[in-house]
Symmetry: C2
Subunit: 389 residues, 2 copies
Amino acid sequence: MFVASDITVGANAGRARSHNRQVVLDRVRTAGRVGRAEIARASGLTTQAVSNIIADLLEDGLIVEQGRHAAGRGLPAVQYALNASGGYALGVEIRPDAVFAAVLNLCGETVAADRRDLASPDRDSVTETMLGLRDHLLKASGTPPDRLLGAGVVMPGPFGATGIRDSGSELPSWAESAPDHWFSEALELPVVIENDANAAAIAERIVGVAQGLETYAFIYFGSGIGLGVVQNGRLITGAHGNAGEIGHIPVPAGGESVPLESRVSRLSVQRALAGAGITAASVSDLDRLYAARTPELMAWLDAAAEPLSAAIAIVENLFDPSTVILGGAMPDTLLDHLIGSVTLAETSVARRDDRTTARLLRGASGRMTATLGAAAIVINHAFTPKIAA
Amino acid sequence: MFVASDITVGANAGRARSHNRQVVLDRVRTAGRVGRAEIARASGLTTQAVSNIIADLLEDGLIVEQGRHAAGRGLPAVQYALNASGGYALGVEIRPDAVFAAVLNLCGETVAADRRDLASPDRDSVTETMLGLRDHLLKASGTPPDRLLGAGVVMPGPFGATGIRDSGSELPSWAESAPDHWFSEALELPVVIENDANAAAIAERIVGVAQGLETYAFIYFGSGIGLGVVQNGRLITGAHGNAGEIGHIPVPAGGESVPLESRVSRLSVQRALAGAGITAASVSDLDRLYAARTPELMAWLDAAAEPLSAAIAIVENLFDPSTVILGGAMPDTLLDHLIGSVTLAETSVARRDDRTTARLLRGASGRMTATLGAAAIVINHAFTPKIAA
DNA sequence: AGGATTAACTCAACTCTATTGAGCTATCAA
DNA sequence: TTGATAGCTCAATAGAGTTGAGTTAATCCT
């Protein structure tokens, strides 16, 4: 969220219903297919209440019936599952030079995705490009516009006037004053704004390797490096929505203390390659250079292992996540190499005897991750119960 | 919480009422004194609903009427405030060699506090000592036992079988299998278990410098060093309740990378002094040594500045708290010295133009902080609305 | 087989809360 | 003094989940 103001709100019949709808929907999503009695047990509601809500959700087209499933004695339960085409979310990523957009269905599948260059980074130009892209995607995929639940917008953080300015990657000042309201009016949709790392983290929960996890951390390679942490299915945002600015934390690298992003980020790998006269503008460029075992790239990888290991140790001990995921605008091959070269700390709360997942996983990667994540935030939102505005 | 399992639970009339009671109570606490109409506006409930709940709370003795207060036109609003003696919380801190306990009233004021040596760290011995201490405190302060809302218990973390073992400070293995149930049965009260840093963090919110803050971080000097982070009034616990294990994160210190607690912790200062044949068993010992500007202590302080600064930079950037608080089992003089010697990072999301509080504050200090915090968790619990078991 | 048992689910009556709208009261301002 | 404003109460209403009896369809046991 752009401003993390969870105004505590009272409950009444209507809000209770809305809350319970989300509880039920969330159960259906995590289970894949379930019967009503099982949902009732999991949610603390009665089967009757669940039945009423399921009837509502069916009518709204958010779920579909899947026949009965016999499991032991008694009347076999009628199963319900998400209706993929019951709702869609728009994801938009705004960069200084381009706009990316994607449409996801309720199951998190990408229905359409595209990008458009940005003539100028002023607000009208961005808005126009975004609207054009949206119309194009909806038309191309045949998505009914009234089925759009909302839009997620990814913009470079941090938000507000802070001590961090990513020179070059910034948007003009219009982006600093309530852009969510502006976008919401332009798109005529509810809009949430997030940074790339947080968006990508949520994407892993909806479609990636974090499915079924409630608490995990995601280290994201964007232009710099970012961190998104999810606890109990919700993003940790901090007081001003800027939590997870991992790029500037001090980490050890060859006997000195440096900011993480000076050694582990796309900019840093590009700088290392530029020193040898090599340009690596795209993910596939990097993939190719890695396949060729380009010495400068391999040297960068070697140098990145120590600071990245330290960062992971810090994240593990400060957030106690179920797992740490590495992803973003890097080729899988590089991510896998990095994961292989990381030394996991011995003294870490992550070193548990009862561990069921790996401490370090590779997540979705590529240029579109954050864009998909923006849409995933909307989907996640629809599933996360809360009695709070 | 011992296990961070926020089971998502459905809402019904009863749970909605309980939720709304907490919303109202929380408004009364944060405002100090308020009228019903104002609570209604803040909570999204109707004045009628608030009136009914206020009547309930009055009857339960949790709040008291404070007369009318004219503010502009219209009927002056009847003001309500917390009733200090409307409820109490027991805080218990279990150490291998002693048990500390305190009783707090609803306003967070310490009503009674004491400690008792522990003959042996086995479960029966701990339980017996704890019960004796509780009875003594209740009797000495004249607290009616039926007014106890619950108990908070502080035990050395981390919980569960992890890669971190604080040699020497551990409790026997009985502490690892559902001690909350055991204590709950022994005390006949709802019990929450937390580590010292988290408990101390909540204490700052109820009685300390974090009043009015919803999102902040607390660095706690215990035997080692710990971190408690509060976001939107709730503790960040991680997947297994072990978030905030800051002692083992790598930080720079004089050109090398070391675990934070090797340079910044009570154990480390004691080690530094022991090298010169000085023993500093208590907080007042340290205070005295600091007053005398003991060279070994001053050297330790100098050496602690760099790693502590790095830790604070990490906490600021990863959690984006409103402020970072330093406190715990250290004399105020030392904490102030440390705060003065810290170099706040330039590149930090905490460097905001719109900042209203200092980036670094001194919190409550002394041996009893965590004990009071344990009780504060119960008070905070009573005030934090949630529709979740 | 065939009855007993188990479990999912529906129906209708009921209960709990919050909301609605009219009406009363006390303060300020003109 | 009068009108406007704002807090608050009362009684009726409405929305949601709960309760308990009854139905249906499997499995288990004899």
